[in-house]
């Protein structure tokens, strides 16, 4: 990939939309439609330009209705057992779609491992 010239602006847009959705929900917990619109826009942008997002960002967005998931406000999170294993189940309250994460003590995401880092930066 070339240097993030074109993509940087798109990343900034994504970043701004993501934070704006958080602020909207912080200010007005009832107005989830706006947060959902922002996140939907963000998803469309990332889809069109094929931008990669960190799993920590993707886990806070619902895949069905693309609303921002805030545990306690927009989604519920429970520990469940299924087939002898423990999963964390996150359920979006608007579209009732659930995501499952396995509670494996030995599992580390590839993005979090030090060998994958090429010096992640914080840019303006």
């Amino acid at each position: 990939m070339a240097g993030p010239v074109k993509d940087r602006e798109a990343f900034q847009r994504l970043n701004f939309l993501y934070q704006a959705a958080h602020c909207v929900l912080a200010q007005d917990p009832e107005n989830q439609a706006l947060a959902r619109f922002y996140c939907h826009t963000e998803r469309t942008i990332a889809k069109r330009l094929v931008l990669r997002r960190d799993p920590s960002v993707k886990r806070t967005l619902c895949r069905g209705c693309s609303s921002l998931l805030v545990p306690g406000l927009t989604c519920t999170q429970r520990q469940r057992r299924h087939r002898g294993q423990r999963w964390t189940v996150q359920t979006c309250l608007t579209c009732r779609r659930s995501q499952r994460f396995l509670n494996d003590p030995g599992h580390v995401l590839w993005g979090d491992r030090p060998e994958a880092q090429l010096g992640s930066q914080a840019e303006e």
Binding site: M1, A2, G3, P4, D7, R8, F11, Q12, L14, N15, F16, Y18, Q19, H22, C23, A26, Q27, A46, L51, R52, R53, D54, S56, V57, V70, P71, G72, T76, Q77, R78, Q79, R81, G84, Q85, R86, T88, F101, N103, D104, P105, G106, H107, W110, G111, E115, A116, Q117, L118, G119, S120, Q121, A122, E123, E124
Partner: protein, 284 residues
Amino acid sequence: MAAAPQAPGRGSVRKTRPLIVKTSLNNPYTICWSPLEREDMHFILQTLEDRFKSIGLQKIEDKKKKKKTPFSKKESRAKGITDVDVSEDMKEKKGDAGQQVSGWTPVHVRKQLAIGVNEVTRALERSELLLVLVCKSVKPAVITSHLIQLSLSRTVPACQVPRLSERIAPVMGLKCILALGFRKDTTDFVDEVRAIIPRVPSLSVPWLQDRTEDVMENLENESLESQDKEVLDTSSEDLSKHKRKLTEGQQASTIILQPLKIKKLVPNPNKIRKPPKSKKTTSK
């Protein structure tokens, strides 16, 4: 960015690709617990332990669970009451130190606590808790403790070093405790809660906490401004009003926009991929 690629002239040597670096949008918010000092931690653990021992809050499980052992091994924390009741019906008399009653010893004390992650979550969603204590030695830590911190808009949680689970679980007779909460109607633990709350460091989330503080400041500024309005003249009042609104607007909206964080990743060399279909053979 790209490592030195092979010379493209030689068509046969095409196996080594240039090193691709993927950039991904990283989360601008780093949600983490606030660190707890050692003295506070020791104090909290000590008070809790003494209190539980003095009350005698114990969970007694029946040790003989022949048919239930494959499930009971993999059960999560504070369960077993229903299983215990069932097994109690099935096998009536045992010699477990003469204690036939299984379950929790003082039941009314048990109702004042919320033990276990799911129960604490539910109580937080209904805003029933005064204090929440969380064990820190969770292996996939982000997954388990993530939600408790995001429900911080309601109560005052804390973060503990692993010893919460190691110390208090055997006192209660459980295998491990990851989350503990005191309900609002607790009578036995009021002193402990009052002693622990000032020791607990406050949590902060960049997008939520600033907003509540700014709302308070905004209200105060607005009340001051309304008083000053009547004093000033009309023309200067308009100017000052606009000026004040601008400054207030700036103050209120100092929700600091986090800078863009980009993560650069090297793709996993051990990634399991499907073998690519060669489309050259099948032609339409």
